[in-house]
């Protein structure tokens, strides 16, 4: 009895030791990097390929659903348990005040690849203090999406070059809109909503709300804030807007039913439009936007200070974002490159059936080359929200624009004191 018990116990211990060994041996050799990103922000196949490229590194890629930014900030607040690599969206500047929580990529060798990237995009990931906390993924160059058939019917130019030439300024664009709406007896609207006008005018600017020292410049003459506001109000007064808010089912339906003839948007709107309006395939074109080129959106990758393998993490993201892989991501996922070399790749000249076989990549590339470097500041999103709410009141409830502007500015001033 006693012997049997001892043997059993011995066997059990042996099993535990062996299984314990089996569990620990590989982790001593392979280094696991946890990656947080959201759906479609990176090419999943590329992440798998990175494991092949770097033997001994396992990438635990986790798609974080829901409100990504809130979840990231909660993790940062907890102080531990975060990933090694994390994706940021265009709210990267909101994390500048917490730059000590991320590795300065300049310390890990980012300088060597700086010249490969678009300068304005690269600078968005660098804090005013000169630390680089985020490596560019994709960009969101903006352009004018328009229905060539409707433009032609209304007697407007329909060829992308002509559209760019004749609708070069916002005022020309609005005038063309008036002409188009008269022709269609207001059954077709020129644009989707005036909040988008406000955002797109600011997207073309290098001075919006803040100086790099975080002083508010929205009430000065060289900031685009008031210009953007006035243009948005003008569009409302000319009744050019269909009042369909971006990324709503309303917007989708209006696009598919041909009730909206054009909108200015970033390259990633292509995907949204194609899914929203399959019935209009072949009728859309893309031209350089009225008022100039701009950028709206685009994401980044950062390495958290809690990571045990910062150098390995940097090598991996550097490889994932090299020009060849960016070209592949663009081809597969429509993630528009941030690497200059990728902008004149052959894939940019690929004709697209949805856009009547136009190669829209060429238009967006030209736009991307022309974007001015801007500084956003940590409160950009909050301020945008305040102005956006007042603009909706103007557009939809007929609030007096001057009163709305004063209300917006008063609320902004209050916000800045918090």
């Amino acid at each position: 009895m006693n012997i049997r018990r001892t043997v059993c116990l011995g066997l059990l211990m042996l099993i535990m030791v062996i299984s314990g060994c089996a569990g620990t041996t590989p982790t001593e050799k392979t280094k696991t990097l946890t990656l947080w990103y959201w759906n479609r922000s990176l090419d999943d196949d590329l992440i798998k390929a990175a494991e092949q490229q770097f033997p001994g590194i396992r990438i635990d890629a986790q798609k974080i659903g829901g409100d990504f930014k809130s979840k990231l900030k909660t993790t940062l607040a907890a102080g531990s348990g975060g990933p090694d690599i994390v994706a940021f969206n265009d709210w990267v500047a909101e994390l500048f005040t917490s730059s000590d929580r991320f590795y300065d990529l300049y310390d890990l060798g980012a300088q060597q690849i700086e010249q490969d990237f678009l300068e304005w995009k690269w600078r968005l990931g660098v804090t005013p203090g000169g630390e680089m906390i985020a490596l560019p993924i994709d960009t969101g160059p903006t352009a004018l999406f328009y229905r060539a058939d409707l433009f032609e019917e209304a007697g407007l130019p329909s060829d992308p070059d002509e559209v760019h030439e004749q609708l070069a300024t916002w005022d020309q664009y609005f005038e063309a809109g008036q002409k188009l709406q008269e022709h269609f007896d207001n059954k077709v609207k020129m644009l989707d909503n005036i909040n988008n006008i406000y955002n797109q005018v600011n997207a073309q600017s290098d001075r919006i709300y803040f100086n790099p020292d975080d002083t508010f410049i929205g009430d000065t003459a060289d900031s685009s804030m008031k210009t953007a506001w006035d243009l948005a109000v003008k569009a409302a007064e000319m009744k050019l807007s269909a009042n369909a808010s971006t990324q709503s089912s309303e917007w989708n339906a209006a696009m598919n039913n041909g009730r909206i003839a054009s909108f200015v948007g970033a390259v990633w709107m292509k995907e949204i439009l194609m899914q929203a309006a399959p019935d209009t395939s072949g009728k859309w074109r893309v031209a350089r936007g009225p008022g100039g080129d701009g950028n709206n959106g685009g994401s980044f990758l950062a390495i958290m200070k809690t990571s045990k393998y910062p150098q390995e993490a940097f090598d991996v993201i550097r490889w994932i974002q090299n020009p060849e892989n960016q070209i592949q991501s663009f081809d597969k996922m429509n993630l528009f490159p941030s690497a200059t070399k990728a902008l004149d790749a052959p894939v940019m000249s690929k004709p697209e059936a949805f856009f009547g076989n136009q190669a829209t990549g060429e238009i967006f590339s030209a736009s991307a080359m022309n974007v001015k470097p801007a500084y956003f500041g940590g409160k950009h999103g909050n301020l945008n929200g305040i102005v956006s709410r007042e603009l909706s009141s103007v557009a939809l409830e007929g609030k007096n624009p001057d009163k709305a502007w004063n209300d917006a500015l008063a609320r902004v001033k209050k916000e800045l004191l918090r």
């Binding site: 607040a77 909101e94 005040t97 209050k414």
Partner: protein, 320 residues
Amino acid sequence: MKNSMLNHPAPPEQKAVPSHPRPKHRLTSEIWKHRKEYLAISPFFIVFAIFGLFPIAFSMFLSFQKWDGIGEMTFNGLNNYQFMLTDPEFWKAVGNTLLIWVYSTIPMLFFALIIAFLLNAAFVRFRTFFRIGYFLPNVTSLVAVAIVFGTLFSNNYGLLNYVLSLFGIPSVEWLNKTWGIQLAVSVMVIWRWVGYNAIIYLAGLQSIPSVLYEAAKIDGASGIQAFFKITIPNLRPIILFTVITSTIGGMQVFTEPQVLVGNDGGVSGGGLTIVLYLYREAFVHNYFGYGAAVGWGMFVLIALFSILNWRMVQGKPSND
């Protein structure tokens, strides 16, 4: 009898109670004596302390701090409360919440009473089926409900506008109007909670003794008289309960406007309720200290309204 009682010596129980030599340790020794029982009920209290008590205490502390959720907390004094009381958007949120509460609670409780009365009536068949049917909205996922209502009230291509167009009425941009958003949210609240309250009223109705109705009938009372003189007074405590629970619920409306019109509460913030405002300030704009202060502001508001309700529904103090 009376005499014998008076002549009785002091009750024996008084002597039977032993005096405690060490009253200080009485409580601890009592706890030790019943340690198994305390251990058995401890899970609730431990969980409550972690997930209930601590967050409440922490939010009190947080409401006096300035904190973006990541960086250092700094003491902010009463600034959060001051900002709250002087922020027009906060008062707009309070106003919206009260409006939505009035739009939803009054019709909801009215319909619930009617449904309960009908379910209680003798002529209704398949009662269980109806009870389940009316209760079902309450257990449906709120986000799914909001999405469905979003398509019903959709500005141009919604079902509601389609129905209007059948009668030649021009379509209404429901979700582009303050009143439209508030109406949609209220309808959603009514749809979701009417069955729940009806079931509670039904239980109340069934507890009213039928002798009262029989006596009224014999005295020649009409059905309407019976309803107002017997049903309503007897239901008063139940009505008070439903009014208070729907006040607390109504003050906390969040998911409906959030899914329907987004974090900003839609056009001119028509759907911006207090909780949505709290959520936006804390989790979208990262003012966590301020969010905590708004939470305590809401606490005061709910407490005030609960007391007010109590007074109103309770009526005069026990005269009848």
